[in-house]
Structure formats: C-alpha cells, structure tokens
C-alpha cells in the first residue's frame, strides 16, 4: 500500500519533468531577466532563485500569485495557462527595484 502511495505521489513528478522550466533570478533586489517570455495557453513552471541575502516576495496581481523566497533559496511556482498578454510582477519587499513582466505569446 505504501509503495503504491509513493508511486502515486511520484507520478506527477514524471509529468513535471517533461514541462520546460523558466528561471527567474533575484540579485541585488532585481529580477533577471526582467522580461520573461513564455508560451500562452500552457501551464508553466517558473523557478525563482534568490541570490540575495534577504528574503523577497514574488507578487503579481495580474497572475494572482504571491510567494515568499527565503534568502539564498530557490522555489517553484506554477502559473497559467495564460492568455496572450503582459503580466507584470514585482518583489514586494523591494518594490522600487524588483520589477519585471511575464510575456505570454
């Protein structure tokens, strides 16, 4: 039973592996790249790596996403499927510099 459960738990991971990941890096309270192009109409996984020594919060009103990233940590976030368009996001803890946009094409 336990093995079955484990297998069932691992199943989504195999699906994930096929999906391509997009990476956003936070450094000096800035997102790199500041503009990330992704395909429209598909669910995507974005990996956010925080290279700063302070925590940050990825926030986007248009994507309806909010996620904490601890200092020097990396997290995953799932978004979409998105309609074609521009989706601005920012780092809530350093809003002045941490700005970016996801472009769905």
């Amino acid at each position: 039973m336990k093995k079955l459960l484990l297998l069932a738990l691992l199943l989504p991971l195999t699906v994930l592996a096929v999906e391509s990941d997009y990476v956003l890096v936070i450094k000096d309270h800035q997102f790199q790249p500041a503009e990330l192009t992704v395909p429209a109409g598909k669910k995507i996984k974005v990996v956010i790596e925080n290279h700063d020594a302070s925590p940050e919060e990825f926030e986007s009103h248009s994507l309806n996403r909010e996620k904490l990233i601890a200092a020097n940590a990396s997290v995953s976030i799932y978004i979409g499927p998105l309609a074609i368009g521009r989706y601005p996001f920012y780092g809530e803890f350093n809003e002045a510099t941490a700005q970016g946009v996801i472009v769905a094409k």
Binding site: L16, A53, L68, Y78
Partner: protein, 271 residues
C-alpha cells in the same frame, strides 16, 4: 514608510479580522480572554519559528512546501470553524431564547476554547510569519531609513488591530436575538474564504488543476488591493481573479457547513 505600513497592514488586517469575528462569536465562553491571549502568543512564537525556517519549508516538496504548509494550516482552520458552527447550531434553540444561561453551558464546552486557541493561533502564525520576515529583511538591510520603515510597520500593525477591534465591538452591538445567526453566517463565510485560499495555494503548487484561470476578472471594478477589496478578502474571501477550483471549494464548504448545521439542529426541534 507608507509602503511598509501598507504591507504590514494587509497582513495584520486579515488575522485581526479573524480574531475579531471568532472572539465575538465566542463572547460567552468563560476564560475566553485567556485562551485568546494564549492563541495570539503561541501564534507569534510560531510566526518566528516559521519565518526562521522559511528556507527549509520552501525547499520541501520540490519548492512548493510553502504552499502545502499554508494550505494545511488553512484546512485545519476551516475544519475548526465548521465544527464551531455545527456545535452552535446544535444548541440553537436555547441560544436564541435565553442566551445568558447558554453562556454558562457554552463555557462547559471545552471544545470551544480549543477552537478559539487553534483558529486564533493559526491566523497569527500564517499572517505573522510573513510580517516577521519582511521586518527582519528591513532591519537586516540596515539601509538608511530602516527606522522609519520599522515605524511604518508599527503603524500598519496598529491600524490592522484597530480594524479588527472595531469589527469585534460592532458585532457585540448586534442584538442578542440575531447575534448568533449573524456571527454564524460570518464564520461560515470566513471558512469558505479560507477554503478558497487553500485551493489557490494548491493550484499554485500544481497539486490541483485550476479548472479556469481565472474564472472571472473583477480587478477593474473592485481591486483586491483597495481598502474595500482587502476588507472583503479578509471577511468573505473576495478574490478579483479566482480560479474555477477556488469557487468550487468556496461553494462546497458553504454547502457542507450549512448541511452540518441543519443536521445538528434537527434532533432539537423534534423534542
């Protein structure tokens, strides 16, 4: 300073409103203040702990540990609130007629105290950990203006508490005849909103399908970041861009609590 105040206000507001509603709904529980205080203190201690282990939590479950953690915390709170309402409904007849006596009876129910403790504790834990991290980030950066930003944080905290207290004081003014119906309705909506948030986290973690993302978009009419939007988000779980699954969770929890309350009322009526 103002932006800091707003960020902290948003976090504190939600917890403060939950505490306001829950402590009003349990107005007659004996020793309520003690349990309430214990819940807040435990929640604050927990916030520090969660904030300190954010990196660890986030790295669990391949980067979506934070979502799973939040969804679990919300799930427990929803269960507790549902239990509260069903329990109150089973004492509905007495509650409406002679509330004073029932106050004594409620106080016999230790379960209400633990509900108060857990719901308040979890609310503070969830909203508090983010505030702690944010303020820690500010003071650690030691940039110029850190003091004024911390002052902003203090202002935001006080403003949030003020709204929560106003809500509490306002609820207590509701005449006894309608009081339990009104707070019961608020608790039900609060629980449904939390269920919707839990679904939101699980979608963000790719545990649940979104069904539609978003199902509707009313951000132009009523932004979640306006004062009214924030209040409605905290009170009834308003979301300007909800996923279909969130709406499913919201309606399901409303229906289940309603059914539970009706089921609990029935035996009393037949007596």
């Amino acid at each position: 300073m103002l932006s800091t105040a707003i960020i902290v206000f948003r976090e504190v507001l939600e917890a403060a409103m939950i505490i306001g509603i829950v402590s009003a709904a349990t107005r007659d529980v004996r020793g309520r203040k003690l349990w309430l205080t214990a819940g807040i203190i435990l929640g604050l201690l927990g916030s520090g702990l969660v904030a300190a282990s954010t990196g660890l939590i986030a790295s669990l479950a391949s980067g979506v540990g934070q979502e799973l953690f939040n969804a679990s915390v919300l799930g427990v709170a929803v269960l507790m609130l549902a239990w509260h309402n069903v329990w109150m409904a089973s004492h509905g007849a007495q509650l409406a007629s002679h509330a004073r006596n029932v106050g004594a009876r409620i106080s016999e129910g230790r379960s209400e105290c633990s509900i108060l403790l857990v719901v308040v504790g979890l609310a503070v834990l969830r909203e508090g950990s983010e505030t702690v991290l944010f303020l820690y980030g500010i003071s650690a950066s030691a940039a110029s203006g850190a003091n004024s930003m911390l002052f902003g944080g203090l202002l935001g905290t006080l403003a949030g508490i003020a709204v929560g207290y106003t809500l509490y004081a306002g609820l207590l003014r509701i005449p006894m005849r309608w009081f339990f119906a009104a707070t019961g309705m608020l608790v039900m909506l609060l629980a449904a909103g939390m269920a919707s948030s839990a679904a939101h986290f699980l979608i963000q973690a790719d545990v649940l399908p979104s069904l539609a993302s978003p199902l509707w978009d009313t951000s132009a009419q009523l932004s979640e970041h306006s004062i009214l939007g924030m209040l409605l988000h905290g009170l009834i779980g308003y979301d300007a861009r909800p996923a279909g699954m969130q709406v499913v969770f919201y309606i399901t929890v409303l229906a289940l609590i309603q059914l539970g309350m009706q089921w609990a009322e029935k035996p009393k009526k037949s007596i």
